[in-house]
Symmetry: C2
Subunit: 319 residues, 2 copies
C-alpha cells in the first residue's frame, strides 16, 4: 500500500514499447499491495496493474508468484493474469527493479466483513485451493511452523517491550506448537495472506483474490486457519463464532475438510496467529520513507494468540 518508486512518462513509454498494448491513456500510482509500488495503467488495449517489486520481494521468486497467477487464471479462478511482452516474457525491469504488468480486476475489498462476506471468502479460498492443484511451481513456506523458533530467537526483548512476561509465554506457545503440529494433512498451493484487503467482492459475491506474494506450499487447512484469524475476529478481540461457522461452511461447500483437518484446526489457528504475531513484532519499528501505512500492531495478534491458547472448540467441532 505505497508508491515507493516514481515512474516518469518517458520511462513508462519505454516500458510499454515492449508490449502490444498501444499508447498509455492514464497512469496513476495507487495505494494497494503490501510492500510493492503499484500503478493503475490504462492503455488503448485495456486496464492493467503495473507492479514494481521493492526490496522485500526476492526477484528469483517472482516467476513462482507470476506463474501461479497465470495458472489460476487459466483454471478460471479470478486472479489477475500477468501480461506477456512481445518476446513472451512476464518479468520486466523498471528503474533497475523487477516489474510486471497484470490484468486489472474490478472489485472492492471490505474493511469489516459481514457474516455473508465471510462465507463468500471461505468459498473463494476453497476455490483457490482447488484451482492451485496441478500448478508446477514449488515454494517452501519460509514463514511456516518450522521457521518460527529461529524467527523468534532475537525478538524476546521486543516481546518484553510490548508486554512484560510475553517472551516466556510465546516461547511456551512455540514449544506447544512444535510438539502438536500436524504431520500429514492435505497440502498444496496456499495464498498465505488471504486477508480482507486481498479479496475483492462485487455485488456481495467473492470476485477476485490479489497479492499472491506470500503464496507457497503448505497444508491447505493452515491457509484456512490464517483466513479465519483474519476475517472472524471482532475489533474487541473476540472471535465471532457466527462468522467463523459461516467461513468454514463456505469453504466446505467447495472442499469439505477431512476429519484430520478439522481436528487440527485449533492448533493450526494458534500457529497462524503466531506467524502474524512474529512478523508484526519484527516490523514494529520505524516507518519506511514513502510508506502509506504504519506497521500493524502486533498486539492484535497477541490477543488472537491468547484466544487460541485458551482453545476454541468451535474450530474442531463439526459445523
Amino acid at each position: 500500500m505505497a508508491v515507493y518508486t516514481d515512474i516518469s512518462d518517458e520511462e513508462l513509454r519505454a516500458f510499454l514499447a515492449g508490449f502490444d498494448l498501444g499508447e498509455a491513456l492514464s497512469f496513476k500510482g495507487i495505494a494497494e499491495g503490501v510492500e510493492n509500488s503499484n500503478f493503475l495503467l490504462e492503455t488503448e488495449a485495456g486496464r492493467f496493474i503495473l507492479t514494481v517489486y521493492e526490496k522485500r520481494v526476492r526477484a528469483e521468486e517472482l516467476p513462482y508468484f507470476l506463474g501461479l497467477m497465470g495458472w489460476l487464471a487459466d483454471q478460471g479462478f479470478p486472479s489477475a493474469r500477468p501480461v506477456l511482452d512481445r518476446s513472451g516474457q512476464v518479468l520486466q525491469s523498471l528503474r533497475g527493479k523487477p516489474a510486471a504488468l497484470a490484468q486489472f480486476l474490478p472489485g472492492l475489498s471490505v474493511r469489516r466483513p459481514s457474516v455473508a462476506q465471510c462465507r463468500e471468502a471461505g468459498e473463494g479460498l476453497a476455490w483457490l485451493h482447488q484451482a492451485g492443484q496441478g500448478y508446477g511451481g514449488r515454494r517452501a513456506n519460509d514463514l511456516g511452523q518450522s521457521a518460527w523458533g529461529e524467527f523468534f530467537a532475537p525478538l524476546g526483548p521486543a516481546a518484553e517491550g510490548l508486554k512484560p512476561g510475553l517472551a516466556s509465554v510465546v516461547a511456551a506457545d512455540l514449544d506447544h506448537l512444535a510438539s502438536h503440529w500436524p504431520q500429514d494433512l492435505p497440502s498444496g498451493v496456499i495464498h498465505a495472506d488471504f486477508f480482507p484487503d486481498n479479496v475483492f467482492f462485487r455485488e456481495g459475491r467473492f470476485s477476485a483474490a490479489i497479492d499472491f506474494y506470500f503464496a507457497c506450499d503448505d497444508f491447505l487447512a493452515y491457509d484456512l486457519a490464517v483466513t479465519l484469524n483474519a476475517w472472524c475476529f471482532e475489533p474487541s478481540g473476540d472471535f465471532n463464532v457466527t462468522a467463523g461457522k459461516a467461513l468454514l461452511a463456505g469453504y466446505e461447500k467447495r472442499r469439505p475438510l477431512s476429519r484430520a483437518e478439522r481436528a487440527a484446526l485449533p492448533v493450526l489457528a494458534h500457529g497462524a496467529a503466531m506467524r502474524f504475531f512474529l512478523t508484526r513484532l519484527a516490523d514494529w519499528g520505524p516507518v519506511p520513507d514513502g510508506a502509506l501505512v504504519r506497521p500493524k500492531d502486533p498486539l492484535e495478534y497477541e490477543r488472537k494468540l491468547a484466544v487460541h491458547r485458551a482453545g476454541l472448540s468451535i474450530l474442531s467441532d463439526p459445523a
Copy 2:
C-alpha cells in the same frame, strides 16, 4: 499526492447512496493532487475522482473552485466536471471532511516537457484563460504580489539557513517587485499552479488541466509567467529559451499578448518565482504523516529568482 484519509467500503456505499451512479465496481487511493486525498472510483455509471479535502483547503472556498471546474467544462474546456448528487449538491462530507466527486479525465502528465509539449501547454493555458471569462465566482489571489512582504516577514531566518545572505537579497527583490509591479493588465481567472503535474496530454496534445485549488483572479500574464517558470527551466537551473519561445507562441496562438503584458513579463516572471520560493521556504520542514511527497526544494526557485533578477530579454522581446 497523497492519501491522508482512509475510506472504508461502508463509508463509500453510504456516500454513493446520495448519487445516481449505481454500485461501486472499484475504488483505489491514488497518488495525485497537492494536499488532498484522491481516489479513483469506478461505478456502473463510469469513472470518477473522489477528492477528500484536507486541512489546507478552506471549505468555504470550495464552491468557487468546484464552480469554476464546472464552468470551464461547460465552455468546452477539458476540466473535470463535478458530479451533482440527487439533491443537486456538489459539496459532500466524508469522515467529517469536505469531499466532492468529479468526472475522471484520461491523460498523462509529463515529467520533463519537450519543446512541443511546452507549446501545447501554452495553448492550453490561453484556452483556460478564455474559457474562464464570464465565470461569476470571485477569489482574490491570497498568494499574490501584495501578500509577499508579510509572507516573508517571519521567514528571514529560514532564508539565511538555506543560504547565508539570502534574506537581504530576497528583501531587495521584494522592494523591486513592489515598485515595478504592473497596475493594470488584463485580468481574469488564473489557474495559478499550471505545473506539468497538473496538465494532461494525449498523443502529444494538451488534453486536460486538473487541480484548480489555487485558482483566483489576477493578471492573466502572471499565470503565463508562473507557467514559464514551471515548464521552461532545465534541471541545471538554466532557462531554456527554445522552450520559452514555444510556450509563448502556443499561448499567443489563442490569445495574443498586449504590448503592456509583454513588457511586464520579466517582472511578472520574477514575481512568479518569488511566490513559489516563498511557499516552498515556508513548507521546508518535517514531512506530514501519510504524505507521499517530500517538501519541494526552495533552492530550485531561489535559482529561478536569480535568473529573473539578472533579467531574461527573451520574455519582453516580441517572439
